[in-house]
């Protein structure tokens, strides 16, 4: 067979298309007749060509073309030398997942590498055409094969680091066989770019950017590739090294936790935390495969679990660090928090009583009966001294602390479920009758009241020059201390959460799932953060960490950054969190409907310990001198070493 359009020495301009690619049917190096372009790479095209050396069989090859763009003659020669050296190394490789190299040559400013033609698609293309996720066992097979080929490369007499593991460099042929292409030979022709660029490799390990790739860098990139295959999230579109922010099982719950664990271990920032060798990772994957096939039911051995997970397991074991000092049983549920005055604790209960209990011994000092359940926190009027508490019997009570007798009571037209705030010689509280009241402590008579026009269940927050209160309507209203309206902010739904004030901002949650940050000067909303369910919990600000922490009915405790309103951490409990957190000495203390009281590290959101009660916990902890006092719906008030 004679091809009349042979060109023996160099590609003639006529044979190049307008875009500089070789035209169909042009013959390269007297031997390879181009049948089409199969891929476009960074430095040139990849063609399919027929090898004319074998006229009787239709043997196709892939021809990878690379442009040597260097202007400088010496430079160009040097690059050509590098190319030939690399091509020789490639030609010496022999592995079922590496395409065979047949030939290489240079024509003018172009270098060519001739290799086995793979009839298939690269994995990037496959992923982009996919509507559903790939079968897990199939991907697992590829992952094992990729480990095997990395193991082969890393163990050459002169170890080869692949450096460019990513979906577009993996081809799957029509028989489902996998091949690793693109051994980065094109890199020898690349020139340094100095301009500001957008986009990173996305798959490269952190140490690779320091210019020190090692075998573990390939393991990281393989982890990145597998992460993308299972999540279909392209790492180049995300901030670098943020795979952990996109948990695989959140995208694809069918992935077994063991497999996720293997991938996340491969993705550890620190190369020493990854698998030491590709072989080790391969073995871990094989264990996963056996477990999936059911032939091995034993749990994966600890050594194959990423260190992060181990730490998490460890923290649960430390759970009983807390220490019960005493507990005091009342006659019904305790839903609200405690207050303290000179060695005595005060707490209201659904048994209608306000209980006064000695803080050190847990013994009863006195109890004061109201006519209905109590669900509010007490507050102390030190000058009395009296303790103030609201009751469902429509009254706010001021009870003399020394005697436990009534000082005065003030009637409203609805249950009082808003905890009182005592300040400036006055007490501020709301009622289900829709009013915010300000009463003089000395007489118990209302100085003024303000119609918020919806039941008030939050505690009024009293500042130097204003009082802020939230209502069932979703309105948060600010008044000056004489009861004059200042501003109103309207959430979409009920606000029960008592605002936390820090640096001129009020933070509060709403039934509309949002935590709001509102400027207390004018009521403008600065930002809001959306949680998964209503927020009943009153937030607490942790200035040291610049976060605001609160619980949510979705079962999580959230920490949100004050400055950028992003989630800093969240901590999952086993049921709704309607209780409010307390902050003390770097720790968050908070109860959950799951019956536990948690102590969580405010910085990281990790559990330090938990204490289990026998009922849901909705009260805010009260912490004094290293002891936490908190009631539970199990009727007990607990004193626990904090």
């Amino acid at each position: 067979m004679v091809d009349t359009r042979q060109f023996a020495i160099e590609p003639n301009k006529d044979l190049l298309g307008v875009d500089g690619t070789l035209q169909q049917n042009s013959v390269l190096n007297n031997r390879y007749r181009i049948s089409g372009v199969v891929g476009v790479g960074g430095m040139g095209s990849v063609y399919q060509a027929r090898d004319l050396q074998f006229p009787d069989v239709e043997r196709y090859v892939a021809v990878k073309e690379m442009l040597n763009l260097s202007q400088n003659r010496d430079m160009r020669e040097q690059m050509k030398g590098n190319f030939e050296r690399e091509a020789n190394i490639l030609a010496s490789l022999s592995h079922p997942a590496i395409p065979a190299i047949y030939d290489y040559f240079t024509i003018k400013d172009r270098a060519y590498l001739v290799m086995e033609y793979i009839n298939g698609k690269n994995l990037e293309v496959i992923l982009s055409q996919l509507d559903e996720t790939l079968p897990i066992d199939m991907v697992l097979g590829w992952a094992i094969e990729l480990c095997d080929v990395l193991d082969y490369l890393h163990n050459r007499p002169t170890p080869i680091i692949f450096r460019d593991m990513k979906p577009s460099n993996i081809m799957i042929d029509v028989n489902g066989r996998l091949r690793l292409i693109d051994f980065g030979i094109a890199r020898v022709f690349q020139q340094n770019k100095k301009m500001t660029m957008i986009g990173t490799e996305g798959y490269s390990a952190p140490e690779q950017y320091k210019g020190s790739p090692m075998p573990q860098s390939d393991i990281y990139a393989l982890g990145a590739t597998l992460h993308q295959v299972f999540t279909n999230e392209d790492p180049r579109l995300h901030a670098p090294f943020t795979f952990a922010d996109r948990p695989i099982r959140e995208y694809n719950p069918n992935v077994p936790p063991m497999l996720e664990a293997v991938i996340m271990k491969a993705l550890a920032y620190d190369p020493l935390q990854r698998y030491a060798t590709a072989r080790e990772m391969k073995e871990a994957l094989e264990t996963v495969r056996r477990a999936m096939q059911g032939s091995v039911t034993a749990a994966i051995s600890l050594g194959e679990v990423p260190s992060e997970a181990v730490e998490e397991w460890g923290s649960e074991q430390t759970s009983s660090k807390s220490q019960l000092r005493w507990k005091f049983k009342v006659e019904d549920e305790i839903r609200s928090g405690a207050a303290h005055h000179e060695g005595t604790l005060f707490v209201g209960a659904r048994d209608h009583n306000l209980w006064a209990i000695y803080a050190d011994s847990g013994e009863l000092r006195w109890k004061f009966a109201t006519e209905a359940p109590i669900v509010t926190n007490p507050d102390i009027y030190r000058e009395g001294p009296t303790v103030l508490i609201g009751s469902d019997d429509h009254h706010l009570y001021s009870v003399d602390i020394p005697t436990g007798r009534l000082h005065w009571k003030l009637q409203t037209k609805g249950p009082v479920r808003s905890s009182p705030s005592v300040i400036h010689g006055h007490v501020f509280f709301g009622s289900d009758d829709g009013y915010l009241y300000a009463a003089r402590m000395s007489t118990g008579r209302a100085a003024w009241r303000y119609a918020v026009e919806a039941p008030i269940r939050s505690q009024p927050v009293v500042l130097e020059d204003m009082v802020i209160v939230a209502a069932e309507s979703g309105d948060v209203v600010a008044l000056d201390l004489s009861g004059q309206f200042k501003w109103r902010f309207s959430a979409k739904r009920t606000v029960i959460s008592t605002p936390a004030i820090h640096d001129g901002i009020a933070y509060f949650g709403s039934y509309d799932y949002h935590l709001y940050a509102v400027d207390i000067k004018n009521g403008w909303s600065i930002w809001r953060f959306r949680a998964g369910k209503p927020i009943i919990s009153s937030p607490v600000v942790v200035p040291e960490e610049e976060i605001v922490v609160f619980g949510c009915a979705d079962g999580y405790i959230y920490a949100v950054d004050l400055f950028n309103n992003r989630e800093r951490w969240k901590f999952q409990t086993d049921n709704q969190v309607v209780a409010s957190p307390a902050y003390e000495n770097g720790n968050i203390y908070i109860g959950s409907v799951d019956q536990n009281i948690y102590c969580i590290d405010a910085q990281k959101g990790r559990e330090l310990w938990r204490f289990q009660t026998e009922g849901p916990v909705t009260a805010k902890p009260f912490i004094l001198d290293g002891v936490m006092y908190i009631g539970s719906l199990d009727h007990n008030l607990y004193a626990i070493k904090a």
Binding site: M195, Y209, R440, W448
Partner: protein
């Protein structure tokens, strides 16, 4: 901050309330508190269309009044100072002042940076808000793509923020309801809108954006890329934006020291910029600025060549003339090679 309290019919804080007493209902409680003068002409100046009164005036049946309590009005327990009668008085350091400069540098032949400042200073008038909007954008891309991308982004952002915050505040529409986006959200929307327009109109270009709206002493920022915002006071200089660059991520992961980053071959690689992707993650930043503090926004042409201590020093030395500070900073960067376009805005918030 005073203007919008007036516009919203809200009460002033602290001891200024006398100036507003004309719009308050008479105090229902008998009191021996100082009688509060009605400043002349104040009432008429209030924009009539605004909600000058609470929607739901309080209702206080006389029977429930604690009329024997004379000291109630000073509920905070302090004696209130008599407020000044003259309320319209210009004061040094009472306004937002700013300087702005953008320079091509020594090595480039075009300036791909864009910069915009919009200030409405209102401490002397009730007709305009005390509001500032500042944008720095550093464009990238060949031909004219870089400067087109940064210019378009800047225009789109300014229009959106002015439309959604400044204009509504003038007509009293902005307010306090979850039905409206928060101020932080408006800024983010502005940058996202700019992202779409840049993608559409300059497919081969991209740009960074750092933008700040300053309302009173509160700064609301939206940020993408490696332009920066610094908060500067006498005591400290703090970078309040986070570079979306590869080297910054490596530093955060302890894989690179800040010193090595200066030399890193990929120090110019950004992982986030406008014009790259339909979906754009925008960093919000909110800060209360201390009185008299400075906010400085700049492109990497400045911070690559001028150390942050030097920036702080110059800003403080020229504290009354931020424009002069901009000049000196740009000169310093140019003296050190001016390898890139240099853009800087310095804003001083009121005392």
């Amino acid at each position: 901050m005073d203007w919008f309290r007036r516009f919203l019919g809200l009460q002033p804080t602290d001891n200024e309330e006398a100036t507003e007493s004309a719009v308050q209902p008479a105090k229902p409680i008998a009191t021996d508190a100082p009688t509060q003068p009605n400043p002349i002409g104040k009432k008429e100046n209030l924009a009539p269309s605004m909600e000058t009164l609470p929607k739901r005036p309080r209702d206080l049946p006389p029977s429930e009044l604690d009329t024997d309590e004379a000291d109630m009005i000073a509920a905070d327990g302090r004696t209130r100072k008599l407020p000044p009668l003259e309320t319209v008085q210009p004061e040094v350091g009472h306004q937002l002042v700013y300087g702005q400069l953008s320079d091509v540098g020594q090595m480039r032949d075009n300036n791909q940076d864009a910069v915009l400042s919009f200030v409405s200073s209102a401490s002397l008038s009730q007709a305009a808000p005390n509001f500032g909007l500042f944008v720095v954008a550093d464009g990238m891309g060949g031909h004219e793509n870089g400067e087109r991308a940064s210019a378009i982004a800047t225009r789109v952002i300014a229009k959106h923020v002015i439309d959604e915050i400044f204009i509504p505040s003038l007509s009293g529409e902005i307010g306090s309801s979850a039905d409206r986006p928060t101020i932080t959200e408006v800024l983010r929307e502005a940058v996202q809108q700019a992202n779409h327009v840049v993608s559409e109109q300059v497919p081969d270009g991209g740009t960074t954006v750092t933008t700040a709206a300053i309302i009173g002493h509160a700064a609301y920022l939206a940020h993408v890329g490696d332009s920066r915002a610094y908060l500067i006071t006498d005591e400290f200089i703090e970078q309040i934006t986070r570079d979306h660059s590869l080297v910054q991520r490596l530093i955060e992961l302890d894989q690179l020291t800040p010193e090595d980053a200066v030399e890193h071959p990929q120090r110019n690689v950004l992982y986030r910029a406008l014009g790259q992707n339909d979906h754009l993650d925008v960093d919000p930043v909110f800060r209360q600025l201390p009185p008299g503090a400075f906010l400085l926004i700049c492109s990497d042409g400045l911070w690559n060549l001028v150390k942050r201590e030097e920036i702080q020093q110059i800003v403080l030395e020229e504290r009354d003339t931020p424009q002069q500070a901009c000049q000196r900073l740009v000169e310093m960067a140019n003296d050190r090679g001016g390898t890139d376009n240099i853009t800087v805005i310095i804003v001083r918030v009121p005392n």
